[in-house]
Symmetry: C2
Subunit: 236 residues, 2 copies
């Protein structure tokens, strides 16, 4: 394999556990209301389910780029209505929306990233915006060298090809010297097709709660069980 | 003073000593050539002198945005000609151009940034591009939370107002909750005029070699002797 100089990371699901964090915060934010019988993991899933379609509107040019906080908030308003939850103030709703800034890393993430950073430039390349990624990293101790992502590359949500090409351009590296690390097949396939970026699949069977199959459906440069398991074959 | 959440930093001169590093690398890169009688500090000054005018062409719309490596290289070709230095290969010239990626921090920079980071988001907001800032930070141990700068805010070189506004926008903060830390009066005044950004002046009397006066010529929120001296009044 040609030399790889930088690893860029999908974040929601690959580096952090969005479902548990969002469920925990949604339950806490509504505890003072008369809400019963909600499965908060399911609430998180339904909020997340609106994520892809909301970004598609930007990718397809039906609306201009907006940071992910804006899409998350619109989607939160929708999912609150879906669950018949009313009574949150504007401030409480905004606070809950920022649950995505306060997600916990998977148990291997910090130690895995520290190892990977010893040899490679490491940066998140998420659809989350820079402010969200900074808040998350400071809270969770994620030792990024820089923050990339949809906003930093000029407003291109993954899996738009411009997103991956932009990440390599910002790193001033040929795409084949950059490797995307992600738990999602679509992300990895798009990165490779966009510009020949290298790929590493991480299994995250618990991303959606109860264990489910999380296997590579294409051929990647690496497939690993977690970030520590990726560090070893990369010589870190 | 209203709450400040983030500190953004000028880098060349404020955080790192560009003159010594460039002089050292220029001397080393040309040692195998028949070059005599060059004052390499003066060479660094002359290279740096071309920096402002070369960015002005971009700021004034006479050429599209290009990363700083491109301007540095054009300016290096010019200064080599000015000094009558010939015989560097393309690879050697490119290597010397990247001297700006390998500058040493001032003695207080790493410890000062570590203290400031305990309380504030910290990020460089330099005219240097992301790849340069990442290489510099990894080598020097600068503990940035994110990399901002001319390239990240959409291609606006300081002191263009869009540059400062863009930095606050990327941090998702009102400009008055962001403070620019810089050793250069023009940078600080422009940031405040552009968007009411807070300002901290750092004295760097050795930036141009032999000690010279380095004093604030306007009123700033803070004026300090170095980054440790700034950390103290900020409660870090």
């Amino acid at each position: 394999m040609a030399q790889v100089d930088a690893l860029i990371f999908d974040v929601f699901g690959t580096v952090v556990d969005w479902r548990s964090g969002v469920a925990r915060e949604a339950e806490a934010a509504t505890r003072h209301l008369d809400v019963t019988g909600v499965d908060w993991g399911h609430f998180a899933d339904r909020w997340r389910a609106r994520y892809g379609p909301s970004m598609a509107a930007v990718r397809e040019g039906r609306r201009p780029f907006v940071p992910l906080d804006v899409l998350h908030r619109e989607n939160l308003d929708g999912v609150l209505e879906e669950f018949g939850i009313t009574g949150l103030t504007e401030e409480e709703t905004d606070g809950l929306n920022r649950a995505w800034h306060r997600l916990d890393p998977w148990p291997d993430s910090v130690t895995g990233l520290m190892r990977l950073r010893s040899k490679f430039i490491i940066a998140p390349h998420s659809n989350g915006h820079l402010a969200l990624m900074v808040n998350m990293a400071r809270r969770a101790g994620l030792p990024w060298d820089a923050i990339l992502g949809a906003e930093v590359v000029g407003g291109h949500y993954k899996p738009a090809p411009e997103s991956y090409r932009g990440a390599a351009r910002m790193l001033d590296l040929p795409p084949e010297r950059v490797m995307l690390v992600a738990a999602h097949n679509g992300d990895l396939v798009a990165a490779h097709e966009a510009c020949g970026m290298r790929t590493a699949f991480i299994s995250r069977p618990l991303e959606y709660g109860a264990a489910r199959e999380a296997v590579p459906t294409a051929t990647y440069d690496y497939a690993a069980l977690d970030l520590e398991d990726l560090a070893t074959p990369l010589g870190c």
